[in-house]
Structure formats: structure tokens, C-alpha cells
């Protein structure tokens, strides 16, 4: 992306600006953790909703209905900010809104934080909450919104479940937090029949219905989640909403990325997102992350001929990053291992592969012999490329092996202290010869035999 001319341009200009060039284009801004994942999900949700034919107007009427349903609506909008600005020096100010006036008394610094959250001038933040809430409560709620709701609420305050769409990882990380929220939620539900508290951001240009919907779902369903937990399975499957459908035929299901309504085939590892509409309105969203890890089918490979001085390569014949390999002969967890110094004899190599879904066992016998060189009993040195040399298979693994060849009369024909598989019987006639081979292995194995030379 950066090309040299470009750099020159900038350097030239910046040569007169030492302070600026010291910063080297460093970004002075930051974003919240995992923001870009959330952003992507938000945009896709919006586009999906648009595709599903949900006009903004309709969303607005939905919100209006919720306003009516709630026992108290606090409407804080731009006017609050304006007032706040004008009255920075004062401790107390009054929020102007269409709803009952609310006095907010806070120390200066905190008001600034609140104002930062409420400042968006083309938006309305609606807090639907139980009737007994007082203004102090609300401030605390905004602060907890500001703090991304990670702080524990005081016991006498209404809980606010602010849930931005979370990424898969965040969800897992937040499991513990959710347990805490549950307690608060239940308490709140006793006090308010329909909804206890919800955080709704409604902008006329881009309705962020998702955030509110998640909250609604949590409030209205005691079971909280429609879909099963994130899961890991070994093969694709069809997931059907039939069970849910039976409860009320008014529900309509829409999976993101699918035409089908109720049953979808889950055939790849990813996030599956579901929108549930009740009549015209979005009732809930939910998602589950499915990882599909097929069952391993190991076919263990190992070299057939093994000598104990060699290291032995054993391969599982499978490879999937979601598998964990447990070998009986190695602490390694990889799909291929090297094993050194196996003693002579038969070894059963066991392999256990664990996946998220299951465990598969496999084993292979490996024969480790002391010496397994193959000495031919005939050579045909005629230059045809076949058996032209006295080639002893496997000998190259044991450098330093010596070879002696004598004829029928016991006369020395050839001798090498480090035979390199290169004798071609060049200066001798056809006939039978004897060889004596001393293999330079651990046991210094000796082999003798007849070698026929056919020319």
C-alpha cells in the first residue's frame, strides 16, 4: 500500500514539521475492544432487516407500543445536552422532555459522563423501567451503560440489561456475568409485569432494533435463549424450529443467509443467526455458533522396515486442526511424530484422537528389526540398468559397513571397508562368488552368501 513516491511526498512536506513527523502517522484514536466484530454484525443485521422488509416507520411504531406498555418512560434527548451545556456551573438542572420532568442531581464530573451518553442529538434513548424508579436510579443506569454494564448494580437499584450484539467470543467470556444479571432480572420482573428495563437506541435514520430485541427476548422468555448453546458436532444436521412453532403459529422465522424459514441444514462451521418475527414486529434474535468437526478416520502409516538406529516416522493419515492426537509412544500432540530408539521387536503404536464430539482410537504394529538389509544373490552387469551393480538394499543406512568378495578358489576379488553399493564385477568373468558383509549396525551383524555374476 505504501509506495516510495508517496513516502517522499509526505517526508518532503513533513520536513518542515518536526513535531508532526515525530508522530509518524500514529493514530491518536482508539476503539472499544472487539468493536470491529460488533460493527460487522450490526451492519449485516441492518441489511438483513432491510431485506426482510422492515421499514423504519414500522420500527418506530413498535417502539411507541413499548412506550405505552411500560409504566414509566424517561425520554432524554438532545435538549438535555443543551441544558447541560448551559448549566455546567450548576449542580442541578432539569431535563426537558415530553415525559414527566426528572430532576437529576449529580456532581459535575458525573454529569459530564452522562451527557456523553445522551448527547446524540438525533437519537432518543428510552429507558423503560419499573414504576418505583427514581431519578438517582436512572443516573446510575446511564453510568452503567457507560461502563458497558460490567459493574455490579447496587441491590436497591433496578437492573439494566444492556446488551449490545456480542461476538461469539465475548459471549463465552460473559457467561459468568450473565449469571449475575439473571438474579437482577428476576427481581425486576417481579416488579414489572411486562418489561423491567430496556435500553433502546432508536435513530430515525438507522434503527438499531437488534439491541433492544435481545433485551426483550431476555425479558419475555424465562428460558432466555431460543437456540441451543454454541455447539460442536461431527456432521451436518438439520435444525428445525418446529417445536417453537407449535407454541404459536404467529411466529415467523428467518435465518440470516437462508431462504428457508423453519428448518435449515447446518453444514459449515460458523455463526447461525435467527430472526423471529411475531406478526409484523421483530420479536427476538438469537444466534448459535456451530463448529462441525468430522470424526477422524486415522490410517496410521509408518515405514515398514525399521531399524532401531533409525528414527521412525509415524503418521496418523488425518489432519484437522480441531483434532488432538495422543500417541502411546510420544508426548507430541501432532498428526505426525518421529520416534527414536525403539528396541527390536514388535511394537503396537496406539493413537487416540479426540475431537470436540468424540474420541477415536487406532493402532498399528511396527516391527523393529535389528538388521534388515537385502543382499541380492545375482547381478547382471551388462549395462541395461537392471542389476548392474551389487546393490545391497538398506546398506546406505549403515555407513562404514565392510564387504569382501572372493571367488570359488578363495582368491580375493574385491574389498571395501566402507562399501558404497558400487561393485560392478568389471574385471571378473561370469560365475559364482562368495561375499562376506559386516554391517556397521549396533550389533555388527555379519552376512555371508553366494553371488552369481551373469555377464
Amino acid at each position: 500500500m505504501i509506495d516510495k513516491n508517496q513516502d517522499k511526498d509526505i517526508l518532503e512536506e513533513l520536513s518542515n514539521a518536526p513535531h508532526l513527523s515525530k508522530l509518524k502517522g500514529k493514530n491518536p484514536f482508539k476503539v472499544p475492544i472487539s468493536y470491529f466484530d460488533t460493527l460487522e454484525e450490526d451492519i449485516l443485521s441492518e441489511i438483513y432487516l432491510e431485506k426482510a422488509g422492515h421499514s423504519k416507520n414500522r420500527n418506530r411504531t413498535i417502539f411507541l407500543r413499548y412506550i405505552a406498555a411500560a409504566s414509566l418512560v424517561l425520554l432524554l434527548s438532545y435538549s438535555l445536552f443543551e441544558l447541560n451545556k448551559k448549566q455546567k456551573s450548576k449542580d442541578t438542572f432539569v431535563a426537558k422532555s415530553t415525559q414527566p420532568k426528572v430532576k437529576i442531581q449529580q456532581e459535575q464530573k458525573k454529569v459530564l459522563l452522562v451527557d456523553r451518553n445522551l448527547r446524540q442529538n438525533n437519537k432518543q434513548k428510552l429507558v423503560l423501567e419499573k414504576g418505583t424508579g427514581d431519578s438517582k436510579n436512572k443516573i446510575s443506569q446511564y453510568q452503567s451503560i457507560k461502563a458497558n454494564n460490567s459493574k455490579k448494580n447496587n441491590s436497591n437499584e433496578t437492573s439494566v440489561a444492556v446488551e449490545r450484539p456480542l461476538t461469539h467470543h465475548q459471549k463465552i467470556a460473559n457467561t459468568a456475568k450473565k449469571v449475575n444479571y439473571k438474579e437482577n432480572e428476576q427481581k425486576a420482573m417481579v416488579n414489572a409485569n411486562t418489561m423491567s428495563a430496556a435500553y433502546v437506541v432508536n435513530s430515525p435514520s438507522s434503527p438499531k432494533i437488534i439491541r433492544s430485541a435481545r433485551v426483550m427476548k431476555k425479558k419475555s422468555n424465562s428460558s432466555n435463549y431460543i437456540l441451543p448453546h454454541d455447539t460442536c458436532v461431527d456432521k451436518s444436521f438439520v435444525y428445525t424450529m418446529a417445536k417453537y412453532k407449535r407454541l404459536d403459529s404467529a411466529y415467523r422465522f428467518q435465518w440470516v443467509g437462508y431462504q428457508q424459514e423453519e428448518a435449515i441444514t447446518i453444514d459449515s462451521s460458523r455463526l447461525y443467526k435467527l430472526f423471529i418475527f411475531l406478526g409484523d414486529s421483530l420479536f427476538a434474535t438469537d444466534s448459535m455458533f456451530v463448529i462441525i468437526v468430522p470424526l477422524p478416520k486415522p490410517i496410521i502409516h509408518a515405514q515398514k522396515e525399521q531399524f532401531h538406529s533409525q528414527s521412525l516416522l509415524i503418521s496418523s493419515g488425518t489432519n484437522n486442526k480441531n483434532y488432538t492426537y495422543h500417541w502411546s509412544v510420544s508426548p507430541e500432540n501432532s498428526s505426525e511424530i518421529y520416534v527414536d530408539n525403539l528396541s527390536s521387536g514388535v511394537h503396537i503404536i496406539n493413537l487416540r484422537i479426540t475431537t470436540c464430539a468424540d474420541t477415536v482410537n487406532a493402532s498399528i504394529p511396527v516391527v523393529v528389526s535389528d538388521c534388515n538389509v537385502e543382499v541380492p544373490n545375482v547381478i547382471t552387469p551388462n549395462g541395461d540398468g537392471y542389476n548392474d551393480k551389487f546393490y545391497i538394499k538398506g546398506l546406505d543406512l549403515f555407513p562404514g559397513s565392510s564387504l569382501t568378495i572372493i571367488d570359488r578358489n578363495g582368491k580375493l576379488i574385491y574389498q571395501s571397508m566402507n562399501y558404497k553399493n558400487n561393485w560392478q564385477a568389471t574385471s571378473v568373468p561370469s560365475g559364482s562368488y562368495f561375499y562376506s558383509l559386516k554391517i556397521n549396525n549396533k550389533d555388527k551383524t555379519e552376512k555371508q552368501g553366494t553371488l552369481n555374476v551373469l555377464k
Binding site: N16, G25, K30, V31, L39, I43, E50, Y78, Q120
Partner: protein, 183 residues
């Protein structure tokens, strides 16, 4: 890691109604950060930038049909991002006399505690300086200094001549340097 797709590949995917969604997802994953940062440096505030970024991509989605291949994908998106950001500022200005001053106050007051800007003194000064730049200079400066775009590319996005861009950048650098220098 996801493989990088070229603009042509993305456009091809987006043209076909069967692969449009996939194409858009790829576009989104490849451009979301660039576009966000571009907008953030114009608007400064994270929440504002977040809203405008979402609007930009929704617009991109809606206008994929009308996008003709005669300009580059990224300069087309930058144009949309520029327009949306400037519209946003204009809307804000209608409601308030000038938001910028408040923002500077806010940034200086918050002392980096809100975690969305650097706590570094000189970097906060840079933000304060950026806020004071006129719109056009700010846009040019951002694209040049932070994003390293060529004048030719900036000219295509902003529909201005390279000469005037160079002048704008020069003034912007001078102004910012003066602010950074002062105590």
C-alpha cells in the same frame, strides 16, 4: 487468515444476485476498518463514527447496483463516506452553533480517561489541532498523513484538482505543526 480479494473480484461477486451477500461480507471485512478510521478522523467521536460507518455500508449495499466499474471501489466508498460524514457535521451544525469547540473541551477535559483517545499529551494536542482545521484541509490531511493516499486518488474522491489538494495539505501541516509547537 482470510485471503484478500481484489476489488474486481468483490465487484464481480456483488453483481451476481446469488453471490451478492457473500461479496458484500467480503467487502465489509476488508474495508470496515479503513472506512471507520477515515470517518472517525473526520468526526472524532467514536459513537458518531460508528453510526456514520453503519450508514455508509448500508448505503453501499443499497447502491451496489448503481455502482459502475468506471471508478475504483474504494474511492467510491470513500466518496460515500465523505458525503455522509459531511452531512452528519452539517446536521449537527444546524442544531448547534459549533460542536467542535465542545469536543475539544471534552477531549482535553477527559484527559484520555475515556480510553477511546490516546492518553499521550502530544497526540491529544494533535486531535485538538485536527478539530480546528477547516473541513477540506482536514479531509486532505487525514487521507495524506494517516492513510497515505496519492494526490491523484484524493482528487478522485473529493473531486478537486491535485494542485488545490497540495496547497490544502501544506496549510494543514503548517497549522498543525504550529499548534503542536505551542504550549
Amino acid at each position: 487468515m482470510m485471503t484478500q480479494y481484489s476489488d474486481q473480484e468483490i465487484i464481480k461477486l456483488c453483481r451476481d444476485s446469488h453471490t451478492r451477500e457473500r461479496g458484500f461480507r467480503i467487502l465489509l471485512s476488508q474495508y470496515k476498518e479503513r472506512i471507520y478510521w477515515y470517518i472517525r478522523r473526520i468526526l472524532f467521536d467514536h459513537e458518531d463514527a460508528n453510526d456514520v460507518t453503519q450508514e455508509v455500508f448500508v448505503k453501499v449495499w443499497r447502491s451496489l447496483d448503481s455502482f459502475r466499474g468506471d471508478s475504483k471501489l474504494y474511492s467510491w466508498m470513500y466518496r460515500i463516506a465523505t458525503n455522509e460524514s459531511l452531512n452528519f457535521i452539517r446536521k449537527q451544525k444546524k442544531r448547534k452553533n459549533d460542536i467542535s469547540i465542545d469536543k475539544v473541551d471534552f477531549y482535553l477535559l477527559s484527559n484520555g480517561q475515556d480510553n477511546l483517545i490516546s492518553g499521550d499529551e502530544i497526540e491529544r494536542k494533535l486531535i485538538a489541532a485536527l478539530v480546528q482545521l477547516p473541513e477540506k484541509q482536514r479531509l486532505v490531511f487525514n487521507m495524506k498523513y494517516f492513510e497515505n493516499l496519492k494526490y491523484r486518488e484524493i482528487a478522485e474522491i473529493l473531486n478537486l484538482t491535485e494542485g488545490s489538494l497540495k496547497a490544502s495539505y501544506h496549510y494543514a501541516v503548517k497549522k498543525i505543526e504550529n499548534i503542536l509547537k505551542s504550549d
